[in-house]
Amino acid sequence: MELFGIWVAAFLTLCIYSFLYRDNPFYRFAEHLFVGISVGYGIVIAIHQGVIPLAWEPLSEAVSALWTEITGETTPEIRSALWGLFKIIPIAFGLLFFARLSPRHNWLVRYPIAILIGFGAGIAIPNMLQANIFEQTRATIEPFGAIGPFVDVPPEARLSALDIFGAILMVIGVICTLTYFFFSVEHRGPINWLSKVGIAFLMIGFGAAFGNTVMGRLALMIHRVGFLINEWIGSFGALF
């Protein structure tokens, strides 16, 4: 069975790489198969790991507990299971997403969307500000607190010449890049120069990102080539 899996994986890998020569039915078959299996598998996992344990099981337990409560045979465990009935509220709101399918009732979808946006914004705004603005600003300024001899810091905690250069470069980069995105003032004279330096910093950033992207894509290829050579060609011995 494992051998069969290796051969199927090798066939599909070669189908995908055949696109490098030109678009062809083998490539399209493998592409559609990958998309279909990914979505199908994702849905099954979401049902088994999400819907069943988080919604179906607690709700069905609560309903059977309610029935037991009604018939009079109750225990403290059964009473606590009754709390599961409250899950009806989030489940009902979640089900309202399907109202989108009905033209007459699609306005109902606004309620779960409103809850999601309200919850998302309320949680995200303070945490994002803290993580991406305040912490980053602190990290940009903080090194200057360790530059001796102007600041009273123990010699072992003082920054080296290279670190000082890095800290100054960082501040220049931040100011110049922000200036490039500052459109309330016309980019002329010193502002123009600052924004041009900002463009240089941005280009270096994009260059680093592009280089890393190439590295990442190559890693995927190396992994597949390694699989084809070591596992697929390696399986020939077991077959012949």
Binding site: L20, Y21, F34, S38, Y41, G42, I45, A46, Q49, G50, P53, L54, F119, G120, I123, A124, N127, M128, Q130, A131, N132, E135, Q136, R138, A139, G205, A208, A209, N212, T213, V214, M215, G216, R217, L218, A219, L220, M221, I222, H223, R224, V225, G226, I229, N230
Partner: protein
């Protein structure tokens, strides 16, 4: 000649790239590896953890991007098991549970780690934000059972673990932007220490967090995996991948230089 070069069939480049990947795979070459600061920081952090500490590993990558995070996971888990550090696995990707479960069991078997005592895999729960935030209050509220459906109250490793307060580090093995979500919600809100093992595509995005200390350490792509393997003195998939990648990078650098030179020569001729 110049025109011919500028209009070269791209498939020739594909063949060249394929050759520089295939040849080093067939004839392995060991190139020197220098350990970078982000990798060293993560290694040192785990090295200093006392036996019995707990780290959480989030397998936030899919089957299409496992080339880089898997060697990282192997190296870090090997390190943890050798030091008696317990590992709790989980994922925010619906396509990953089977992959991650299989990987954890394989590495655990190689290191004689026992399921439930040295490691556990909790599986997947839908909804990124509610999962990250929910575990900050009570992990059992989010994962009532592990991936094998065992109630987590019956799993020894989870006995004294309620929420992030009992987790010493979260290592997010990510192929997307989920590391940022962990930083924004788990680190900022709950003070959970976070490290990242990311694919090369998102390395540049992570450096600001590393510089600010919001990330304890980082494994950048194949490079990070290879460096960690070097620190463990146990070369593995990361080392093999990095050696092969080095030849491909060299080819790409040469092609970029040639392309630029040809471009400027043509520009000058046209002028």
């Amino acid at each position: 000649m110049l025109e011919k070069f500028m209009n070269m069939d791209r498939r020739i480049i594909f063949i060249l790239v394929a050759l520089v990947v295939i040849i080093p795979t067939l004839i392995p070459v060991r190139l020197p590896i220098t350990v970078s600061e982000p990798t060293q920081k993560l290694y040192d952090f785990i090295e200093e953890l006392p036996s019995g500490s707990t780290i959480m590993m989030a397998f936030d990558y899919g089957p299409s991007s496992l080339a880089e995070p898997e060697p990282m996971a192997k190296a870090v888990m090997q390190h943890c098991f050798s030091k008696g550090v317990r590992v709790i696995g989980m994922t925010l990707y619906p396509n990953t549970p089977t992959l991650a479960d299989k990987l954890m069991r394989k590495i655990a078997d190689e290191n004689n780690a026992v399921y439930g005592q040295d490691y556990v895999f909790l599986g997947y729960r839908p909804g990124t934000l509610p999962v990250i935030l929910g575990m900050g209050t009570n992990i059992a509220n989010v994962f009532e059972t592990d991936y094998a459906k065992t109630p987590i109250t019956e799993i020894p490793i989870m006995e004294n673990i309620t929420n992030y307060d009992q987790i010493d580090l979260l290592l997010d093995l990510s192929a997307g932007s989920l590391t940022e979500a962990w930083i924004i919600y788990a680190n900022t809100r709950y003070g959970l220490k976070i490290a990242a093992g990311v694919t090369a595509v998102i390395i540049a995005q992570m450096y600001p967090y590393l510089q600010s200390g919001q990330l304890v350490g980082m494994l950048p792509g194949y490079l990070g995996a290879a460096q960690y393997e070097k620190l463990l003195n146990a070369p593995g998939d990361g080392t093999v991948g990095l050696n092969t990648a080095s030849f491909a990078h060299l080819l790409i650098i040469v092609l970029v230089i040639l392309g630029n030179v040809a471009f400027f020569i043509r520009q000058e001729r046209e002028a």
